[in-house]
Symmetry: C3
């Protein structure tokens, strides 16, 4: 086969560093501007099939397929021309075959062709991050198993920063104070005849019925970070007036249209590519299904901001709502309640 | 609470003007280039719950929730850095709580947190229009009431013009002769078992069944300006060869893809932001669900132009078609019927 | 009528050339940079209603309506300011009225108003291709017949090249080695009560049931070039490392989001317009329903690349998958399988 006949590559001059991946919505420790020459960034991900509650109110649950136990999988951050060297392991208690396809990579179905592992196996894939941007990764075992795994949560994002950091459309440096990494997940949970959600005893048991549900193209749930309310209440994102947040939105399957209620997308890389000038001043931006992207905002007012998929049915009924709780002082020059609600009757 | 502790803002130097809002598809009187310094633009909107016929052919109707009695709500036009000062009233005969969330504003859920009013109440909200563009506004009372109100017609648009007017991608001034303000509305009307549409006696009675219908994410109707045929026949938009129309398209919930049959988007602010260079020469443009946008065209031929959501199922079966009737002289240099239809049989 | 009163146009100075249209996914012979002055490009298309198998596995079939016997119709290529002069004929064995609406043209509903023909008829339409880009054409007989014909395959694309060829965002010339012309088709096949697909004896018999199926906005099939697997296996597209392919994607009705698994969109005219600078470095791009667009990629690795609609349900279950089989040498500097899958158990 062509791949096995290839010339070896000499990477002896590359420094190796380890990136410790963390749980969403958090980002791994990283430099916004690259320090020194391109590196080999070693990461590890463990495939973990686990039951997850999707909505506590209804008890809806799914035999989730995850990278590192979370939906979405962890955020990876490197700089352009770095190598990503992933050790991918599958727990021996898992039931299914998995792999990984990086949209950021080149060749072999994004690495999918080189990383098929069974429970109790591991593999190591290395690829060069040649294109700057935010990119989806996901499991793609082949055929209908692709949507089955993707729609069971098996996807995440990598951000490949330009070596000299992010830039506005005039080429000026842009920096952020914090990252909010939001994975939007569409689930297609099969229902009983009475409309309640079915439960299954082990991974794979819901295969045929999941496929039937997926054929409707109508998700039962559209959630952020794996479950209804995963980023609200006690789990809300926190920020402060004057802080700049980079919102990284991953949607591995289905289009979305994020909106920050009460805020804006000041600077938006809508397609996720950092090789094009960002858009500015957006009310609502568009996530092409099967992509990751980034939007930047600096908070100007305190209070609660809802970050939603602005199909408001999907936001308010199917689950796609997160909250930012922002500290600081209110600015009446931007907005003022001139007259509080009062009766108009004499 | 933070907002009540805020410093007062001194706007004594600002001139106050009143903008009289008009019924869609028309635009309020306005300057394309701002005259003088930023102003406080006073507007009034009245929340009006009213039964509306959605499709005369089938008799389908909805207990619409409206701003000023129309779907969409009226178009507001200001310039960047103007203040919008809205008096929002709710008729005492209404049944439900309402508010307003302006995507053009900053903070307090777009004003939604400051404007909750019950029937027979009023409130006054002021916000600074800091970002140029077309922006959606809509009712957002919270939770599932958000899609319930938005999908019952409670949404509209504001255009925030750059102070020096619209520009092409090279910075040259662009002007328009007329505005066509088109609000696309997706309705989810519950059906009887025989497929006919249910009727309800008062607002709110259709809540549970509307939510079930919305969960399908499949609208029963997708219409322009509130009803099937609201912008065709006697209600068609009118223009003339050589005239430039600015088409403002609002869709508060669901993606759309407008196309002008027989014409183009010569200049298109697809995301609605005027802080980015517009796109040009488009056949079909994309409206992110939960946004307003603008497209400009100068008519070159007379005749009827259909303006459609180019999911042609939505245009021709669900209702999303408007007509422009354009006067003028035909130009054979652009298109000619060289041979009229004729038999090929000898 | 206005059109009949129009001044004749003198095109006696124009050279006439004939373009022989070919079967998708192939492109007609053409120059990337125009030779000489604008021309009149004569083409012929024959409307052909024919039974087509949509999925061999299930036997699902449709009474397809086609231009020249294929879904999509043939790709037309001209340069900006050329005239397209189409002779459109309808086979006498056809059953229905048809016409053609060119998004690339100006006036008369894109020519739709001037080209209504019945079986056994012909007509000739000439239009000037004033705007550079990729544009959809489709049948649009009026009313619900529009989605009925479009969703039975009656659509295709024209590419109007800039006279001096394609350019990158800095104005440098871009050339391609080959074109892959991909028409994405959503079908709405009615089902029997047992879930199998209905068969019909003649064109038009499925009208009422097709309309009911279309109202769901949920296609039974989403395919490339007319049928499941039309561009995989023996019919896969072929290329080689170092070759640059221009992928032209047409979707006349429904949004799509193409992704080349293992590759990228190096240069993407996402809206199809060549009058705007292309986007670069994209993982997944967006096709507005009712448009044609173009993406360019230079292969860097050998192997199989799947080109998919990255709603992976649509790709893997409904049919929207094509394959490129690419020859050449593997480059370990871009990707390497460092450790092949192996057991982690001692
Ligand atoms: Cu998997
Ligand atoms: Cu993918
Ligand atoms: Cu309301
Ligand atoms: Cu909103
Ligand atoms: Cu036809
Ligand atoms: Cu069209
Ligand atoms: Mg090797
Ligand atoms: Mg809940
Ligand atoms: Mg095991
Ligand atoms: Mg991306
Ligand atoms: Mg005050
Ligand atoms: Mg009607
Ligand atoms: Mg907008
Ligand atoms: Mg098959
Ligand atoms: Mg196009």
């Amino acid at each position: 086969q062509q791949i096995n006949a290839a010339e070896p590559v000499d990477l002896s001059g590359y420094e190796r560093v380890t990136q410790t991946l963390v749980r969403p919505p958090f980002a791994p420790k990283h430099d916004q501007v690259a320090q020194g020459a391109p590196k080999i960034v070693e990461i590890e991900m463990v495939v973990d099939e686990r039951l997850m509650v999707v909505d506590e109110d209804t008890g809806a649950s799914i035999g989730a397929m995850t990278y590192n136990g979370s939906v979405p999988g962890p955020l990876i951050i490197v700089h352009q021309d770095d190598y990503v060297e992933l050790t991918l392991k599958s727990l021996s208690r898992n039931a299914l075959e998995h792999n990984i396809d990086f949209h950021a990579s080149t060749g072999a179905l994004g690495g999918g062709a080189l990383t098929h592992i069974y429970p109790g196996e591991e593999t190591v894939l290395r690829f060069k991050a040649t294109k700057p941007g935010c990119f989806t990764y996901h499991c793609a075992p082949g055929g209908a198993m692709i949507p089955y795994h993707v729609c069971h949560g098996m996807n995440g994002a990598i951000m490949v920063l330009p070596r000299d950091g992010l830039k506005d459309k005039d080429g000026n440096a842009l920096t952020y104070d914090e990252i909010a990494y939001i994975g939007e997940q569409d689930y297609y949970l099969p229902r009983n005849e009475d409309g309640t959600f079915k439960t299954y005893s082990s991974d794979g048991d819901d295969y045929a019925e999941s496929l039937e549900a997926m054929r409707t193209l109508t998700p039962s749930h559209v959630v952020f970070n794996g479950a209804v309310g995963a980023l609200t209440g006690a789990n809300a994102l926190r920020s402060a007036v004057g802080k700049t947040v980079l919102m990284i939105h991953n949607q591995a399957n289905r289009d979305s249209r994020p909106h920050l209620i009460g805020g804006h997308g000041n600077v938006v890389w809508e397609s996720g590519s950092f090789s094009d000038a960002p858009m500015t001043g957006m009310e609502t931006w568009f996530v092409r299904g099967g992509s990751a992207m980034a939007a930047m905002y600096t908070f100007e007012q305190p209070g609660v901001y809802a970050y939603v998929n602005h199909n408001v049915i999907e936001a308010a009924i199917l689950g796609a709502t997160a909250h930012f709780v922002v500290d600081g002082d209110w600015n009446n020059a931007l907005m003022e309640q001139v007259v509080a609600p009062r009766s108009t009757e004499a």
